[in-house]
Symmetry: C2
Subunit: 183 residues, 2 copies
DNA sequence: CCAACATACGGAACGGTGTTCCGTTTACCA
DNA sequence: TGGTAAACGGAACACCGTTCCGTATGTTGG
């Protein structure tokens, strides 16, 4: 196992751009064939590089997820109170989700193909969220029995469908939820 | 508009039972062919009686939705405070949603086929919810700017995936959301 | 530079699902 | 009981995810 072939590396990069563009235009559930056509490759090439849709999504949004994860400690240090830091960090997470059409829905799908997406989000963001929650709980600002997983799932769920109907605003609802955590 | 043929009426009833059973066993997204097979009819017969899946879902759950709608005023009269009535009524709504695998997801799908489902829920339940909200707001228990539609969408969203993961409890999250409405 | 080998590619093919359409059957009524 | 309109069944089509294998191509040792 040495280096990958040059055309393979090129195709992988092409696919990432094509997928990113397709996700923006048609949502993360855009047909595989559309992505392949955009990239000018066959569908087999997609599956070779990204066995599941989750792999592709993770690859496309990797940087943004990292940025979100890394922002946690910084917010905690900078904010007035741990609860404010929590609220701001959740805001970042919501911003990320609502700008990706359909991602919030995919995130919570029980489809086995999305298991990897689920795991990646949780591995990377759950500890950050848990730290923020703990800090807020230790400061006595929120009830101490709130789990990071249930909070992130709840927030993710609230983001589903944001933008489909101007009368529904996910940020507002998430704000109410965070308010509801107060002691 | 005359009378429908006897076999048509019979098939419609058979389909309703078959669909109800199929929904329980395999969720509201069970394949059309499975429902047809259960009922012992062809797929054409389903589409003739229920042009969209939403029509079938509405027909199956009509009584439960009515019961939920009618419970609103009763709860308002019986509860200690309007806020408590609101919480209890939302509890009924959540109970309804989480016991129907996949219904919460379908409810908020942007698929055009589910438009009818959306409308029906909203037509029937939105006024009830609005009354409860207004009572609570008039009593000064909650902020006055909460819309019935955004609340119901938020609550519906929080119900998605309940039961898939024992660590996520929709009722708990909805409870936090309702708490967050307090002034 | 050139085989020859491993790697990667393309897209046909398959299975599953929603939806339509039309030849056939059946209920109703005169 | 025969004729008609309503209703039925399921084949057929479209779309999508996924697999698979014959073909093409980059790599490398000679």
């Amino acid at each position: 196992m040495v280096e990958k072939r040059a055309d393979a590396r090129r195709n992988q990069a092409t696919l990432l751009s094509a997928a990113a563009a397709a996700f923006v235009e048609a949502g993360v559930n855009v047909p595989v064939r559309d992505i392949a056509a955009r990239a000018g490759v066959g569908v087999g090439t997609i599956y070779r590089h990204f066995p599941t849709r989750a792999d592709l999504i993770v690859a496309v949004y990797h940087h943004q997820i990292e940025a979100c994860a890394e922002a946690g400690p910084a917010l905690l240090a900078a904010a007035e109170t741990p609860h404010a830091a929590l609220a701001e960090w959740i805001g970042l997470f919501v911003d990320f989700l609502v700008t990706k059409h359909g991602l919030a829905g995919a995130f919570h799908s029980d489809d086995a193909a999305f298991q990897k997406l689920h795991s990646y989000f949780l591995d990377r963001l759950l500890p950050v969220c848990a730290d923020l929650l703990k800090a807020a709980a230790d400061a006595g600002e929120i009830r101490p029995d709130v789990g990071a997983l249930e909070l992130m799932r709840g927030v993710g769920n609230l983001c589903i469908g944001d933008g489909d109907d101007p009368r529904y605003n996910a940020r507002r609802m998430v704000g109410f939820l965070i308010m509801g955590l107060h002691t």
